[in-house]
Structures are given as structure tokens and as C-alpha cells.
Symmetry: C2
Subunit: 241 residues, 2 copies
């Protein structure tokens, strides 16, 4: 299963993605987490402070497998082992970083997105394997079609007009891209009587939780508390879908 | 004066940018606010719910002024009047939207960034005119050099490890780009004893304020309260710099 977590910046995508990754791992899955943000912070949720080499720097390794030479593409390349070669391993979790900006003026992350698309396209997942894509803030990745071929897109919002506007834009673009399964997660909810309808099923309503705030201050993850419990419910909905 | 507001997604860039815009206007300035986020939400802070035509859609009008034909550039084009033609006016505030993604697969916002750079490069500001650029979340715009030639860059963080990591990356990239004046704004601060040092002067420490939360839920702006008062202090620091 390939799941993408999308939404406006700061709504909690990385927090939710990393927590889901840990729940999948605990359940015996082999988990591949892909940090698709040009400003990567996913690894930080696993206590990894060092910079992970992005796949955009390993172009050679991906291209040699996918492209045979002279622009001739290998239709069915085996790329499964590349994940191990390119990723940073923590137990049964492998973290991939798409690409970042290291120098001003070096351009955008389109080349890195293209590599990631190729890798994802050719990756065949076995039983009990899951890919979770923690996307960049906003909507630019839709312009790049990075998410073609995913099984489920979860849009995260918080109860602000700006993030809901972003979610509506995302629904439109995702349908455009042919993504069929789209769900909504409302995060940081203080008032239970919240009413947000963007025309997609709600996967969870995560309450505002001081514990998350404290954990984010330290760059840690949470494994208890009311926000965590609701992410567990979301996890069940995903696997029983 | 050209001021850019940068930082991780969700830290409060648009809230701070729009509040500063209103303070400049109140002080008699002609204000140009540029929404440089591919997922634009700046206009919403002024109660504008309709989509504003982005300058990326008015390529003709910018190119005809800057490019003479056959790739020959007009070295000193007059572009001041273009702001009025391209912008959405609210009193003495003019809002420009850089560009957005309307269709999946249409590409990235590099062409729009290039147009904006051209426009900004040739815009000559008079006394009591200010441009405030509300940047996209994260660091990708540094790859595009959108911010060349600005007078002041204000980095917004909240007290989370991820946003501080982002700020550190920004400082490095901004120096790379030759930006000399960089300041830090710490937002949503609950604990006054906060200690954040990323090697640039602190322009303000904005306390967490329930009023802002409520305003953001409705898509409104604030004009009183403790967060607003601190932004007024930041405003004074900017104009007296």
C-alpha cells in the first residue's frame, strides 16, 4: 500500500506520517517512509539529527537501473533493493529523503521529484509492506505529478480557513491526477463540534494535545495521549479499508 | 524597502506579513504585498475570498515591457505602473499573487518565480513605499533565487525543533544569496524563557494568543491583543532600522 500525507504547511503532516509509520512497524510491516519535502524533517521524528543523503544525489544508481542508455528505458526494472541501498534504516523502517536545496540558485526540486516518481512507479510492494509519503507543504507537487499511482491520499487540515482552502484545492488537483481514494484528517481540534466538509470521507479528528506540543518542541514523537489514540483509530481505518 | 517573510509552513508567515502590511498602510505607506506561495492565502487575511489572477497568467504584459523582442532585454524598463495593472487593490494596499498550480502535471512554479524576480528587480520604490513578500513554506524558493535584492529577510519560527532546523537552513542559504539583513521572529511563544539562537538578531517574540487562533479559524485578521502588540514593536524596529 502506498499512502501519501498532504496538506498546508504546519498542519501536522510529518507528525501523523511518523506516528503511522511506527504503528505499521509495530504491526509487523516493513515500512518505507519517504520525506518528499524539499525542507526535510521526517527523520527528526525518529531522533535522527544528521542529514540523510537524498535520492537526488544518487541519480546514477537510479538511472542505471531504469534507463538502459541512449534514453532507452527498462520497462520492468527491479528497484526493490535500491530502497535498501538508498535508505536510512531504523529497525524495520527505512527512510528515504527525496531532495533538498543545498545552494541558493541551484534550481527547484523537479529533477528529484522525477527520480522519486520513477522509483515509486517500479517498486513492487509485497504483503505487509507499506510506503508512506510525507509530502511537501501545499500544492506544488501536484504540478510535478509526484503522487501518480498511490493507493490512498490523506489530507491533513487544522481548523483554520487557510488550511481548509488548501485542502479544497488539493481535492480538485488529486481528482485531476486520477487519485481515487482520498481521506481527510482534522488535526489540533479544540472544539469537538467542528464541522468541516470538503467532500471526502473523514478518517479521524485528532484533538489538540499539549503532549504533542511539548514533543514537537524537543523534536520527539509521542506514543501515548489523546492525539496518539486517535491516530491509532486512523491506523485501524487504513488497514481495514 | 523590500521585506521578505520566510520560514517553515504553518509558523505564521502570512499572519505576520498581513499584519505588518496593515501597520505600514496605517502609517501612510503605499504597500505592495506579494503572495509568493504556490498555495496562495495572503488575500484571505484581507477578507478577499475570490481567487486573484496570478502574475504568471499575465506573462504577456511583463514580457512585453522587459523583453524588447528576440531575447533582447530592456535594461531599464519602467514597471511601476504594472503593479497597478496586475494587482488587487484594497485601499493603499495592492496584493500581487505570484502563481499557483491549477492543473495536475502543469509543472512547477519556476516560470512564475522568474517573472516575479524580473518585476521586483525593475521596480523602483519611492519614499513611503514598501513591498512585503510572503514566501512559500520552506526553502525551495532559494533554489530559484526569488529573493535576490531584498533589503530585509525576516525568518519566522515557532518553538519547535523542526521550524528551528528550517530557520538554520534558511540562514545558510540566505547568506549564500548575499542577503545581508536577516532577522528572527519567534511566534506562538508560551514560555517566555525561550532561548533560540540562530546567529541573527531577534526582531520580536510574539506570545501565543487565543485571539489569533480564533481569527485564523474564521480567516480574519487581528488588530488588538498581545500578539498584535508585539507585531507593532516589530514594525517599529523595521522602520527605525
Amino acid at each position: 500500500m502506498k499512502i501519501a500525507i498532504v496538506g498546508k504547511g504546519g498542519v501536522g503532516k510529518t507528525f501523523i506520517a511518523s506516528t503511522l509509520m511506527k504503528l505499521f512497524e509495530k504491526d509487523g510491516y516493513k515500512v518505507i517512509g519517504v520525506d518528499c519535502d524539499p525542507n526535510p524533517t521526517l527523520a527528526l521524528s525518529f531522533g535522527v539529527e544528521e542529514d540523510i543523503t537524498p535520492i537526488s544525489k544518487r541519480k546514477d544508481i537510479i538511472e542505471e537501473r531504469v534507463v538502459l542508455g541512449d534514453g532507452v528505458y527498462n520497462i520492468n526494472p527491479k528497484v526493490d533493493d535500491l530502497i535498501d541501498k538508498l535508505g536510512y534504516k531504523i529497525g524495520n523502517i527505512t527512510i528515504l529523503v527525496m531532495g533538498t536545496i543545498e545552494k541558493s540558485g541551484e534550481g527547484c526540486v523537479c529533477p528529484a521529484s522525477t527520480l522519486l516518481r520513477k522509483l515509486m512507479k517500479h517498486l513492487i510492494l509485497k504483503e505487509k509492506q507499506v510506503v508512506i509519503l510525507d509530502m511537501e507543504a501545499g500544492i506544488e507537487h501536484f504540478g510535478r505529478k509526484t503522487l501518480e499511482g498511490i493507493d490512498l491520499m490523506l489530507i491533513v487540515v487544522e481548523p483554520t480557513k487557510k488550511s481548509i482552502l488548501t485542502a479544497k484545492r488539493i481535492v480538485k488537483l488529486a481528482k485531476d491526477l486520477g487519485i481515487k481514494n482520498i481521506g481527510l484528517i482534522v488535526n489540533k481540534v479544540r472544539n469537538k463540534n467542528i464541522d468541516i466538509d470538503i467532500g471526502v470521507p473523514i478518517y479521524g479528528i485528532i484533538p489538540f494535545d499539549e503532549q504533542v506540543l511539548e514533543a514537537e518542541a524537543k523534536g520527539e514523537s509521542v506514543d501515548k495521549g489523546k492525539a496518539f489514540e486517535e491516530i491509532k483509530n486512523i491506523y485501524s481505518k487504513i488497514v481495514n479499508r
